[in-house]
Assembly symmetry: D4
Homo-oligomer: 152 residues x 8
Amino acid sequence: MPDPSWSVYLSGEIHSDWRERIQSGAESAGLQVEFLSPVTDHAASDDAGTDILGAEQNAFWHDHKSAKINAIRTRTLIERADLVVVRFGDKYRQWNAAFDAGYAAALGVPLVTLHDPEITHALKEVDGAALAVAETPEQIVRILEYVIEGRL
Amino acid sequence: MPDPSWSVYLSGEIHSDWRERIQSGAESAGLQVEFLSPVTDHAASDDAGTDILGAEQNAFWHDHKSAKINAIRTRTLIERADLVVVRFGDKYRQWNAAFDAGYAAALGVPLVTLHDPEITHALKEVDGAALAVAETPEQIVRILEYVIEGRL
Amino acid sequence: MPDPSWSVYLSGEIHSDWRERIQSGAESAGLQVEFLSPVTDHAASDDAGTDILGAEQNAFWHDHKSAKINAIRTRTLIERADLVVVRFGDKYRQWNAAFDAGYAAALGVPLVTLHDPEITHALKEVDGAALAVAETPEQIVRILEYVIEGRL
Amino acid sequence: MPDPSWSVYLSGEIHSDWRERIQSGAESAGLQVEFLSPVTDHAASDDAGTDILGAEQNAFWHDHKSAKINAIRTRTLIERADLVVVRFGDKYRQWNAAFDAGYAAALGVPLVTLHDPEITHALKEVDGAALAVAETPEQIVRILEYVIEGRL
Amino acid sequence: MPDPSWSVYLSGEIHSDWRERIQSGAESAGLQVEFLSPVTDHAASDDAGTDILGAEQNAFWHDHKSAKINAIRTRTLIERADLVVVRFGDKYRQWNAAFDAGYAAALGVPLVTLHDPEITHALKEVDGAALAVAETPEQIVRILEYVIEGRL
Amino acid sequence: MPDPSWSVYLSGEIHSDWRERIQSGAESAGLQVEFLSPVTDHAASDDAGTDILGAEQNAFWHDHKSAKINAIRTRTLIERADLVVVRFGDKYRQWNAAFDAGYAAALGVPLVTLHDPEITHALKEVDGAALAVAETPEQIVRILEYVIEGRL
Amino acid sequence: MPDPSWSVYLSGEIHSDWRERIQSGAESAGLQVEFLSPVTDHAASDDAGTDILGAEQNAFWHDHKSAKINAIRTRTLIERADLVVVRFGDKYRQWNAAFDAGYAAALGVPLVTLHDPEITHALKEVDGAALAVAETPEQIVRILEYVIEGRL
Amino acid sequence: MPDPSWSVYLSGEIHSDWRERIQSGAESAGLQVEFLSPVTDHAASDDAGTDILGAEQNAFWHDHKSAKINAIRTRTLIERADLVVVRFGDKYRQWNAAFDAGYAAALGVPLVTLHDPEITHALKEVDGAALAVAETPEQIVRILEYVIEGRL
């Protein structure tokens, strides 16, 4: 029974190699998955707005211009996704990750979260909207293998 | 007049060969149909959650974890489908089959049911939402051949 | 902080007094809730179609006519509801209850199930889509009191 | 020109009196506003699930049960709102606040954020989706007065 | 159990008293129904466009101007309706009635048709989308009484 | 500037060669158009239901079964279409054509009608919802050539 | 036949008394209409953002802050409206009026334009999306009287 | 990480080479972009309606026929687009450009504007709905390169 390819958006933490581990795991498993993500180069995502459209003296508008250009990418790709995986790391506030989770939930796109158990309580509302709560990228790969190919 | 391929989701009973009969019949008829389905391995669909994400002592949460991972697959594929066929067997409660029928109906995805006439009365609300009520897989194949290719 | 009234649809089993217990409990708690339900007179819901529109010799069409008239009511009221509570009893197949649950889930209307723990496994996919799984009508009243008035 | 009343959802931080200041300000200004909010009693929102539906040994499921019951209230009220105001305080991770912001944005409900300028950079993606970024509850009241009554 | 009022749109044939019979029947039955309809004064609905906005020499544009002003009313009211009843008489082509039926069906508004059995075959596609096919206004009243009040 | 292919649904009259003229015209013009249509074999569309699912004594249900199976095809293809062309001939009531026009209009799919000027007045509400009113299949081909390729 | 009240949004030109003429005309005709509009005080709508949220040195951001606060009002009210009337005057570019017209059209809210015939050609795409094109406020009143009360 | 191709609709001014500069820039950058646009031949877009469907004596209907045929193309392509870029030149009223911007905003399609800073104030409501405001076609190319490929 031929299952078509899936699009999976990988949102959140950008300081570890979790995206690469999911992608290489999916490749090893022979899955037809198109992985989507925000721009994960921190400096680029901070400065895209002013670099392209001109400098701002005010820090708020500097941030604002970049945030909106990033939104062109992130909203378009989240809306294309069959599944959104949101990774929360131990550091930083990562409000954009939680924002993406809420965005996906409201669109009805299935949501999976990925984080250490230490931060479970703070994430309870986000996890409550998720269809799975994983702790490792390898679990994400297994979820993909199961939902796409039916292999456990 | 070139008709493009259709996606057909086959929901429900997993103890007989009705899916295979529909698929081989569609193949014999030369239809361009992509068949989609839930994971039909009963043990796998019962244990996917705990097998991937860790064991649960409480039976409710054991079931819950698997049900939600199954939902990633089933909801995504029902939303992709042009047509949902729901098969009710003579045994078991099969509430997930009726749930899928309601889900498809609310999305406006055309619904066809497949069951023996003995259970017609119990299924009257579900059949009332269906565009066809069939008794055999071969009738499903003929419906597909008619709606896709116009051949009676 | 004034909270407006809620509409709550009570779907499913019609052989016990669970609806009355929820309604009287909500009244005692002083909640502003409009309760909606299908026609719970079994004979009426079986015969509405033929009684109004004329007899049918064929049992299938007898059922079909009634099911569709019932659907005018049930779909309209489920779409109006802020919350759908679905009760599964121990007897009967109750496919219409599971159908309503799927219908509510696909519309994004919050879903709560109400059933004995004995049938948990058979209901795992339905419970997986629910925001709460209760065992007694009194728990439903407490959920309403909490979500509407914030009182625990 | 008669302007009808507005529903405004106040999401986020629960440790200061910002909601009361907005509500009393709106009342002083004579605005027809229905204010909606999550349950702001921290203990209640942590324990609602187990208090009503039974204790859990596992902390994750304790949180999960409460989070989902809270979701019945928060999603229903956000969907009713004409405007969502999200307040971020200086402490805690407040991922549920950012989740609500993403949820409102995806639904197309106008979003206003309320926070100190010190956390602007961390909130840039959320602020990028907002139609106004305020620093004080009094600014929120003035926004309401302007958009509802046209008074500056 | 308090059932709120329903809005029912009465589309189609304008040369008999079927609307009045339904309305007086609903009143006698004590139903809370708001009945909506197109402008049923034939001359007015033909000439509204040119009478208000200026004469047209070309018959096509004369018709076009009126049709569009009628559409302001009909589409708005069909979208408000909980139920659309479409009456087909024995004469005239009544394409606007069938158009309204298709419009309601695509919006997911429950549809009931009302016509003599003589024209059943020609109406089979329209009846196929309806939740009831009635022959008399009195049957429509009984359907309303049943779906609103649960009385058979 | 590469324009992708369009899907065009051809609804309505089945007794003349208008579909073939549009298709051959589009082919001559080198347009990338996928043409979709209902089953245009009159006998097949009348009998599909009973031929596949079993005979009915009652003429109403004979029609009903076929109408619903036809609806699987017609609604699916109208929802896929970028443009719906509805042809009204001089004979027959053609309520299904007007139904399809209303269905397309409610979905927001652009609508074009094709008919002789003699029946303009009876079609004024349908034409009022159309983005073009053509008299010949060749005009439809020119519309396609213009909207797809920009060639006048 | 009781027709409920309508909400009518009056967008566009703010330098003449066209809104007042429509409102007083509707009042004289005894129509139940709730009229909605943007803030029509030019200075207020230019400065709302900076007046409430703080001054900006850069003219672009000065405008931007006000435009977004205006959008809270205008989008909310357009989405509430049953009908949007857009007035184009002879002066100024009035891009916000055309923007509102496009916004209403995409939402499927019926659109009526109001302008002098001299600017018809420049407005042809906007008029092409309108269900009526009026030249005087009195014609708008007559349209309202007709579509709400059926009086010509 | 493979990013799929994007569809970008280029709306607005037709008297300069801005579309060509964006397209050639995107090609040089190796971007997978499908560019869509209205018919940019001014005479063709003015006369398409009458040229295909027959002459009109009245200038209003001449314009109307063409505007509606243009709408078949523009609305279909805007709905297909991942991003809509709207260019405002220094001359002409360009109400159709602002209409397209409002149309895209209401659909939730990301919007970018392109215009000289001289007309910023008049465009403030339109710019307020945009995710970027550019001054040159080369900035648009850089935005595309960033949002599609992540390259700054």
